[in-house]
């Protein structure tokens, strides 16, 4: 049975995925590769920032991104389930 909420759910999912992928691109390809020379002018302790993003920082951000995704998707799924069961109740 196709749910009425399918479209809304899918749109919210795509929005979430695209925004997370934007961050993914910015920290790895952006900070770690394209802008690395610029960021290297900033020093944090014994690290040049660009070098640190390329070899450490981007990996930490990747982990955060996946856990944000897990969290948001659980919420989205839950909302979908609730409105689907509301709909079934009202049609009975």
């Amino acid at each position: 049975m196709p749910g009425r909420n399918d479209d809304a759910y899918w749109k919210a999912n795509i929005r979430l995925v695209l925004s997370l992928l934007a961050v993914w691109f910015l920290v790895s390809f952006g900070a770690g590769i394209l802008l690395v020379e610029v960021l290297d002018n900033i020093r944090v302790g014994g690290f040049k920032l660009g070098f640190w993003m390329a070899q450490q920082g981007s990996i930490f951000v990747f982990i955060v991104l996946i856990f944000v995704y897990i969290n948001r998707m659980d919420t989205l799924d839950e909302r979908y389930r609730r409105s689907e069961s509301d709909r079934e109740d009202s049609t009975q």
Binding site: P2, V44, F47, F51, A54, F67, M73
Partner: protein
């Protein structure tokens, strides 16, 4: 007690553990054999994925590669971790929702075509075989160097162990041995790293030691500054600066990321969990477990590099410690006293350099170079074996399921019963172990090189086909098959041309847009997308039931 004693002890203990798990996890159904009955808890699946993913190359070679590449080593670090973001967001949950056993299952059903299924089977087998030969070879090398067992026997022992738990337990046996292997390999990698970090910087956490000041006995100052200084002084490229062109680093990183997300032995791990949300969670756990090693490796690379230079440069050859002659005997270190002054000159200038150091030394000999206790030195062997065997087992299962499930059950012999299919699955894993073992003992000269290209091929074939299958409802079989063939074909030809047909022109001037064969898989993936999209526009849209299948994959689970 000697290193040899400790090594034997660790190897025997860990192998005993793997065999115990194999006996405990025997299976009787194809569902258990292919996807561990879909009962694997996400955290266990995360560990198993991490062990599956981190191969002999990650464990033994990566830190060494980085210590010679300097900053450019980042393409391995970001490429092999960033792919998990793509996996978690774009593939894992949907493939789990689809709920079958293999990658060709998805491609064949989604694109309602035996041609698509067979193309996927072909790509999966080529990619996995290329990869598994490297693992067997890795296991053989560890045996021969640490236990002084002949490489042939080393490979055979490795084969026997993998054979035992893969044939008995299928995916279930493989999964739980991989959990144990993850624990062994991460312990073996972290203990020496922590020791060295404390020794050189006084910091127990290597990731912090990486950016800290060296202790007085190592000359003080920030580690990375000191390394840059040493590099310049000896004529090596500056450690924290890049050598390769920006676009090459960009495309290699992209190819490794997309390839990671397209490797069938990684993808099938997400079929083994009970629910869709567990698939997302296990991708997150997997990346944490992988990141523990991947954020430590660049620190180890820097420690080892600085330590090596400190130990050898301009020091008398006769005063070298014991490890030096031990590794010299294996040919991984070679010294040629060109100016006959009895001192070792280690420089970036080929004309005056007297020392050649194999990159694998950086992990294998690092504990000895840092004068760590014997039991720590011995851990490395058990860790290297765990890394090689866990990856080999995952790959062999892909080959076995591609043959028994996709090729026989779904394509040529649909009438076989489940029992017969299970027998074929075990037979094909047996055959695959033999073939892999043969190539492990007699490695074709190009195997080591080709392993890296498995990523390019996976990036150019599977990743686009699966992503389009989920995110583009209109994508049809004509488009997908044309795309896979174009992407795989282009990438394979580019690599074969530059690496085997005409290696003389393999340099940046002749490369397409300055992209090396390692990075060409990302262009292959783009070609795949473009060809698929174009062909799809001029051919009929997929039947209604396929469009409903896509809608169903996208819909959340209602449990």
């Amino acid at each position: 007690m000697s290193v040899q004693f400790w090594t034997f002890l660790f190897v025997i203990l860990t192998f005993g553990l793997y065999i115990g798990i194999a006996i405990w996890s025997r299976v009787r159904s194809t569902q258990d054999f292919y996807v561990a009955g879909k009962h694997v808890p996400p955290i266990a699946n995360g560990m198993a994925t991490a062990a599956d993913w981190m191969s002999a190359a990650s464990f033994i070679s990566m830190a060494g590669l980085i210590s010679f590449l300097g900053r450019d080593g980042a393409f391995y670090l970001m490429g092999w971790t960033g792919g998990y973001v793509l996996l978690a967001l774009l593939l894992a949950p949907y493939l789990r929702k689809f709920g079958k056993f293999t990658v060709p299952d998805f491609i064949g059903d989604r694109y309602y075509s035996q041609t698509a299924r067979l193309t996927a089977v072909f790509c999966a087998i080529v990619i996995s075989f290329v990869y598994v030969c490297g693992q067997m070879q890795g296991a053989g090398i560890v045996f021969s160097r640490f236990l002084e067992v002949d490489i042939v026997y080393g490979v055979m022992i490795g084969m026997a162990i993998v054979f035992f738990y893969a044939v008995l337990g299928g995916m279930k046996g493989i999964t739980y041995t991989q959990v144990a292997q993850y624990c062994v390999l991460i312990f073996a990698f972290m203990v020496p790293a922590i020791f060295i970090s404390i020794l050189m910087t006084g910091q127990a956490i290597p990731q912090i030691g990486f950016g800290s000041q060296l202790t007085e006995s190592f000359g003080g100052g920030y580690l990375l500054d000191r390394l840059d200084g040493l590099s310049e002084q000896l004529g090596f490229p500056t450690y924290t600066e890049g050598q390769r062109s920006t676009q090459d680093v960009f495309f290699i990183t992209a190819a490794l990321m997309i390839g990671t997300a397209g490797l069938p032995h990684v993808i099938i791990r997400f079929f083994t969990v009970p629910h869709v949300r567990d698939a997302r969670k296990s991708a997150g756990y997997a990346l944490i477990f992988i990141a523990i090693l991947y954020t430590t490796a660049p620190a180890v690379a820097a420690f080892a590099r600085a330590n090596l230079i400190n130990t050898v440069d301009n020091v008398e050859y006769s005063a070298m410690p014991e490890w030096f002659s031990k590794w010299e005997a294996t040919g991984l270190i070679t010294f040629d006293d060109r100016n006959a002054d009895g001192l070792i000159q280690y420089t970036g200038d080929a004309a005056t350099n007297e020392l050649e150091v194999n990159r694998d030394i950086m992990v294998l000999a690092n504990p000895e170079i840092a004068e760590l206790p014997n039991w720590v030195v011995a851990l490395v062997a058990a860790g290297g074996l765990a890394a090689a065997l866990s990856t080999a087992a995952g790959l062999l299962l892909v080959i076995s399921s591609a043959v028994s499930h996709d090729l026989l059950k779904r394509a040529y012999m649909p009438e076989i019963t489940e029992k017969e299919e299970l027998r074929f699955a075990r037979m094909s894993i047996f055959m695959a172990v033999l073939v892999a073992g043969y190539f492990g003992i007699n490695p074709p000269a190009y195997v080591a090189q080709v392993v890296a290209f498995a990523f390019g091929l996976a990036a150019a074939s599977f990743f686009p086909a699966i992503v389009m299958g989920i995110f583009n409802r209109r994508m049809n079989r004509h488009g997908a098959v044309a795309g896979m063939i174009a992407g795989f074909g282009f990438t394979a030809l580019y690599i074969i041309f530059f690496r085997f047909v005409n290696p003389a022109v393999d340099n940046a001037e002749n490369w397409l847009f300055g992209i090396s064969p390692e990075g060409i898989g990302s262009v292959g993936a783009l070609i795949n997308l473009l060809v698929a999209w174009t062909v799809c526009r001029f051919t009929p849209e997929p039947p209604a039931e396929i469009q409903e299948l896509v809608a169903d994959i996208r819909r959340p689970e209602i449990d």
